[in-house]
């Protein structure tokens, strides 16, 4: 049944595509499609095969072009793996020496795109994974095929001089009809290719950034950009400016982004790895991702990268044992988290996602990017919470929905706000400026009792009952006179001190034992003034007794402050419901907080 749900109900909508560039390769114009299936063209004759390199070498020997004799042999292998289970895929991905491609490296790419699936492999299974390994490589215990024995002279720079490498590669490309068209303008004075480093900037659109800039572009940080020339692959991760620069090449390269890091990878609706396939060119690649699924992949990446690698003000990282698989669904919906690590209990389980993120509103329009961002944070927040509960779904399953959803709401609010604050939007999601938002200060008892602001309210300093609500006519129903801010109860006789003990108002007695004010009495030690009512919080200011005024009872009465998300996350490991939360909050109070503050706040939720 679940399998049907996973794969049977999802329909990928890969119809959105747009031209990202008209790139000149020699005199040929190539249009790159940014969305949908990567479409392969014809299979190319492999210039790096040992046989073709030997032929090229023989030709050059006849012309006496080379300065040295060469040993043409197998230096590398072009191979492909077919992982059939989640375990096998994990094993493959954990080999950091492999640069894996879903598509073959010896075909023309006639149309770029965001995913590739071998037509012989059923949807839902991992497609063939292509890569290049050194000769002598120890194969993993996964089905594989050696597709070609290669001689890659570029990797033998210590053994072969640069000129000979160029002559040999040039000749191999020529005899296999793969040499790029007249390139004299980019050859050096000796008619040879000069070295260059693929580089560029990767940016994507953001709806918040668009409120203050013309193009709405923001750098995509931590994106893995690959530059590939046949079997030579060099990669770099974009820096804080979205800039990347790979190792050097001499000729044009195929650019691509693989939406993955060591901690997560991003996939499409049927769990196929997401890419952005760029142009083949011999110049920097500057990309602005402005629409379609690729914008959502980029946005999910920005959020996941933030949670795993960037500043999150002391919160713990998700630390999921296995790489999180985040699927993007280009349809109406919100999000799902299927839990972490469960795959290890099912040897041979297929590749299923941990998280799914939907990108569209109920009218079919795309959600704003900051919503996709915050939903991604929310779902990864669940993964992190599961990990906090010893990584166990059984322990986590005992946590009430109100607790785990409210915590994810707080994580979503906290990290998304950090991200936009870092981009310069200091009032992002500020309840004083935005009625609706992740801050949840608009939330009332009429709304879902699972997605509450409980944890946000522990950290913020905003009392929505006063700030958002419709205030009652009587602001001091538990006594006192409203002075414009609070309920004034009274002051002790001159020279005596007002204080609170055991949630009662007291003052020190006059001389030994006198309590001259009406309504006060000597209790054997001090003058008892009044019991602070259960629903009110008392405080002393300027040696006078006060109660905080009443607010709108539809909203939580949030006089709690001083906790940090980091504090709360540490106690969360022991929290399963409101009672355990109350107990843990009381035993970990910050300065200025009392049990009464906690009781008054949480009683609202106990009474829902």
């Amino acid at each position: 049944m679940s399998i049907v749900f996973f794969f049977g109900c999802q329909k990928d909508q890969s119809g959105i595509s747009h031209d990202i560039s008209n790139t000149e390769i020699g005199f040929e114009k190539l249009t790159i499609q940014s969305e949908g299936l990567i479409v392969l063209g014809k299979k190319l004759d492999n210039p790096y095969s040992v046989a073709n390199m030997q032929q090229a070498y023989n030709n050059l020997l006849q012309d006496s072009t080379l300065t040295q004799s060469l040993n043409i042999r197998t230096t590398h292998l072009y191979i492909r793996y077919l992982p059939k289970t989640n375990d096998e895929e994990e094993l493959l991905l954990s080999d950091s020496t492999l640069e894996l491609f879903d598509y073959p490296l010896d075909y023309e790419i006639s149309s770029g795109g965001t995913f590739f699936q071998d037509p012989q492999i059923a949807i839902g299974n991992v497609t063939w994974q292509y890569c290049v390994v050194e000769n002598g490589y120890q194969f993993l215990p996964i089905q594989y095929e050696v597709l070609s024995n290669l001689f890659i002279p570029e990797y033998l720079e210590g053994e072969i001089n640069e000129d000979d490498i160029n002559y040999l590669v040039d000749e191999a490309l020529t005899i296999t009809n793969n040499n790029d068209i007249d390139t004299t303008n980019i050859k050096n004075t000796k008619g040879k290719w000069s070295k260059w480093s693929p580089s560029g900037y990767i940016n994507c659109y953001d709806d918040i950034v668009a409120t203050t800039t013309d193009d709405g572009m923001t750098p995509v940080v931590g994106a893995k950009v690959r530059a590939r020339r046949w079997f030579i692959i060099k990669t770099d991760y974009t820096n804080s400016n979205g800039y990347f620069e790979t190792g050097q090449f001499r000729r044009a390269v195929n650019y691509s982004i693989k939406w993955e890091t060591s901690k997560y990878d991003i996939r499409n609706s049927v769990s196929i790895q997401a890419y952005f396939n760029g142009p083949k060119q011999r110049e920097p690649w500057d990309l602005d991702i402005s629409s379609g699924k690729s914008l959502r992949y980029a946005t999910i990446h920005r959020a996941a990268y933030r949670y795993h690698f960037q500043n999150i003000n002391g919160l713990k990282r998700p630390n999921v044992w296995r790489r999180l698989k985040i699927n993007y669904i280009d349809d109406t919906g919100t999000g799902v988290n299927w839990g972490n690590n469960w795959q290890i209990f099912v040897p041979g389980s297929p590749v299923w996602p941990n998280i799914k993120i939907w990108g569209k509103k109920n009218n079919g329009d795309y959600k704003p990017t900051n919503d996709i961002y915050s939903t991604t944070i929310h779902e990864i927040g669940h993964s992190s919470h599961i990990e906090l509960m010893n990584g166990g779904l059984i322990q986590f399953s005992q946590v009430s929905k109100q607790i785990y959803e409210s915590w994810a709401e707080a994580i979503e609010w906290f990290i998304t706000k950090i991200a936009y604050n870092d981009l310069g939007y200091s009032d992002y999601d500020d309840p004083d400026h935005y009625l609706h938002g992740d801050h949840k200060q608009w939330w009332t008892s009429l709304d879902s009792h699972d997605y509450t602001p409980i944890f946000i309210d522990l950290v913020d300093s905003y009392n929505q009952s006063i700030e958002k609500g419709e205030l009652p006519t009587n602001r001091c129903p538990d006594g006192g006179a409203f002075d414009g801010s609070n309920c004034y109860i009274g002051s002790p006789p001159d020279g005596e001190n007002a204080f609170i003990y055991a949630d009662n108002f007291y003052h020190t007695p006059v001389e030994c034992c006198n309590c001259p004010q009406q309504g006060t009495y000597f209790d054997g030690a001090n003058c008892f003034k009044m019991d602070i009512p259960d629903n009110s919080i008392g405080f002393i200011w300027n040696n006078s007794w006060y109660l905080y005024p009443a607010g709108d009872t539809d909203y939580p009465y949030d006089r709690i402050y001083g906790y940090t998300m980091n504090n709360v996350e540490q106690i969360l490991k022991h929290v399963y419901g409101l009672s355990s939360l109350r107990s843990k909050l009381k035993s970990n109070k910050p300065n200025g907080m009392t049990d009464k503050h906690i009781d008054v706040y949480l009683n609202y939720y106990f009474n829902l």
């Binding site: 299927w338 839990g339 608009w442 997605y451 419709e470």
Partner: protein
């Protein structure tokens, strides 16, 4: 054995999966059925924050959505609001202070609520000729 483990896994996943609640959508519409333009000036804590103009027979729409729910109207932050009819007659609406008008835009009970379905709510507030006449009355001190 493999089959049994797979069944166990499916049960575990089915029971532990965190499927988010579908989002609730709220649509808020302020319509002007008065015969001239209306301008709304928003204030919060005594500070002017925004101005909205609505031409005759036009409206302003807001949409909010969230898994937890949606805010009660009005769909903006304000504790007082100056309504100006045809650039001539104006009247204040309040959230917490004593009201001069019968239907303050800042109070949720002044809005008509329609539950479209389980996940969609519509809130409407319509300015009419009666609101203009009420403002004139207040201006004249009647």
């Amino acid at each position: 054995m493999k089959k049994i483990l797979l069944i166990i896994a499916v049960i575990i996943i089915a029971n532990s999966c965190i499927k988010e609640t579908p989002e609730i959508y709220g649509y808020y519409t302020i319509t002007n059925q008065y015969e001239n333009e209306i301008e709304l000036k928003l204030f919060n804590n005594g500070i002017y924050s925004d101005s909205l103009n609505i031409a005759t027979d036009e409206n302003i729409e807001y949409t909010f959505y969230d898994k937890a729910g949606i805010p009660q109207p009005p769909p903006f932050i304000a504790d007082s609001l100056l309504v100006i009819f045809n650039d001539s007659v104006s009247v204040m609406h309040y959230r917490n202070e004593e009201q001069l008008v019968e239907r303050s835009l800042l109070l949720d009970e002044s809005w008509t609520e329609l539950n479209v379905n389980e996940y969609e709510y519509r809130f409407d507030y319509v300015f009419s000729e009666d609101d203009y006449l009420e403002a004139v009355e207040i201006l004249l001190g009647n």
